[in-house]
């Protein structure tokens, strides 16, 4: 309970830090919202010319993008250190964290907020409300999809980042995994076939960020929901195991920095 209070306090500090430079906060968040609007424009132009692609309509892609923006806002905006784990390890910043009386992974995740990506967190729900036919049921499923997608996203990059503790480097593999996951999750699942689709359900789990949540919102089935929750919980547990395994092999960078 004390640990949870400390983590909440840490998260509050991270948000206050981001908020402290108001002008920078608004510039960065607004720029990201405009950036998201550019993607919406791309899909608008695409479907204006093409119509439907393998059963995906314009409104389903807007739902996909709303979920993706929300997932990115939560996982890389609120928990921005997730993708920087490799750099933190390489820079020796893990050493100071290990002395604190809290779970090191949880602390690292909540310690920093990425201001720009909070723009995604604002954009996603607005796009859902405007373009994805919200009803009470669809809204609950959208929130669930965004939360499970975030869990998978964070777990995936934490696992890749943890490899740095064993293999060295600066987390390049996590950066590549992050980019690959984000790109694959940015397009309708059914445009991919065969091997790529199989990959998106296994080694690069992009399908669980957007494709499966979109399917759940549009065609609710208990089995899909159970599978999605199972994958989210399973990936979080696996990420915890991989991080702890990495910690056991980790040797201090002998650099002392502020946690």
């Amino acid at each position: 309970m004390t640990g949870m209070r400390a983590l909440l306090g840490t998260m509050r500090t991270a948000v206050v830090e981001a908020w402290s430079n108001r002008r920078s906060f608004w510039v960065q968040a607004s720029a990201m919202i405009l950036n998201d609007a550019a993607w919406v424009a791309f899909w608008g132009l695409f479907f204006h010319k093409i119509g439907q692609v393998r059963g995906w309509r314009s409104d389903q892609v807007m739902l996909m993008f709303a979920i993706l923006a929300t997932v990115t806002g939560i996982s890389m905006g609120l928990l921005s250190n997730a993708r920087k784990l490799g750099q933190l390890v390489a820079d020796g910043q893990l050493d100071a964290v290990l002395t604190l009386p809290v779970d090191p992974l949880a602390y690292l995740l909540v310690r920093r907020v990425d201001t720009a990506l909070l723009g995604d967190l604002a954009f996603g729900p607005v796009l859902f409300a405007v373009a994805a036919h919200p009803t009470p049921q669809r809204t609950v499923l959208y929130v669930l999809g965004a939360l499970t997608g975030s869990a998978v996203f964070v777990s995936f990059v934490v696992m890749l980042g943890s490899v740095t503790m064993v293999a060295g480097g600066r987390g390049e593999q996590a950066d590549l995994g992050f980019q690959a996951l984000l790109i694959l999750a940015s397009y309708p699942l059914d445009v991919f076939g065969g091997l790529t689709k199989l990959m998106m359900f296994t080694v690069i789990p992009a399908a669980f960020l957007t494709g499966v949540p979109v399917h759940l919102v549009d065609h609710f089935r208990w089995a899909t929901l159970a599978a999605m929750l199972g994958v989210a919980v399973g990936s979080m547990l696996l990420a915890g195991v991989v991080f702890r395994a990495g910690l056991r092999r980790y040797r201090s960078g002998a650099l002392w920095t502020r946690a």
């Binding site: 920078s24 424009a41 204006h48 692609v53 390049e172 790109i183 059914d190």
Partner: protein
């Protein structure tokens, strides 16, 4: 006088080659994009009976291969990097050298980008040739190489002109992804300008972004060949480099007067 700039170009090219891990990550990223777009455009072409705005699925894949290669050759966060250098005063130190801050930076960025462009085009050509066959516009494809070089140069010059705002605005660095999306969308990197509604296509032609992705891609994939695109790119390059020179000259004067 070209000596220091040629040296900066060569040193930067060598720097990229000496960091194979970073280069490999960038090229793998490019390969992932090609896989995604191969799937997307073949599905789109199938949905519209084989042709999208006059492009076949194979032509669209060639289009994306070259457009992406021209864009991926430049650093995605260059505007942010320049903004940080201006904000932290690193540029003020560079002003002590007896060479132009802007041209030295551009030479260095061109050196790095040349290596990435060559690698990306080699990988992209091999992939797309294997998946979609030879480029549909063979004569035009020969012009695509100089066009891709001009595209990269125009992009770098424009990024320096854009980033020069950091001499006056401390938050200009956050705008790098806005610039990037202008290249993605109005530059025709994500989709050919012919797919735009007429009014947006006219807007795109007025702005310089089409020189950074659309021109080399159109030369590779489009028919009939349009060699005049090269001349128009060169003209835009002169304008953009001139704009960057004006912005940096004014910015450097501002630093001298107001301090960094």
């Amino acid at each position: 006088m070209a000596g220091p700039y040629a040296a900066a170009f060569a040193a930067a090219a060598g720097r990229v080659l000496r960091r194979p891990g970073e280069l490999a990550v960038r090229l793998l990223f490019y390969a992932v994009i090609l896989v995604v777009f191969a799937a997307l455009w073949s599905a789109a072409a199938a949905a519209t009976g084989g042709l999208v705005a006059g492009y076949s699925a194979a032509a669209l894949l060639w289009y994306v291969t070259v457009a992406e290669a021209a864009v991926v050759a430049t650093k995605p966060r260059l505007i942010e990097d320049i903004g940080v250098d201006i904000g932290t005063g690193a540029v003020a130190t560079e002003m002590l050298r007896p060479v132009s801050v802007l041209w030295l930076r551009l030479a260095s960025e061109l050196g790095e980008a040349a290596v990435r462009l060559a690698m990306a085009l080699a990988i992209g050509t091999a992939f797309t040739w294997a998946v979609g066959g030879a480029p549909p516009a063979r004569a035009g494809a020969l012009l695509a190489l100089p066009s891709a070089v001009l595209a990269v140069a125009a992009n770098l010059a424009a990024q320096h002109a854009f980033a020069g705002a950091a001499f006056w605005l401390s938050d200009a660095k956050a705008t790098w992804f806005l610039y990037q999306k202008l290249v993605f969308l109005l530059g025709g990197m994500l989709l050919p300008l012919q797919l735009f509604p007429a009014w947006l296509e006219r807007v795109a032609w007025v702005l310089p972004f089409w020189t950074m992705a659309y021109a080399p891609a159109r030369l590779t994939a489009g028919s009939p060949p349009q060699p005049w695109l090269l001349a128009a790119q060169a003209a835009w390059l002169v304008v953009l480099a001139g704009a960057a020179a004006v912005v940096f000259a004014a910015g450097e004067r501002h630093l001298e007067v107001a301090g960094g």
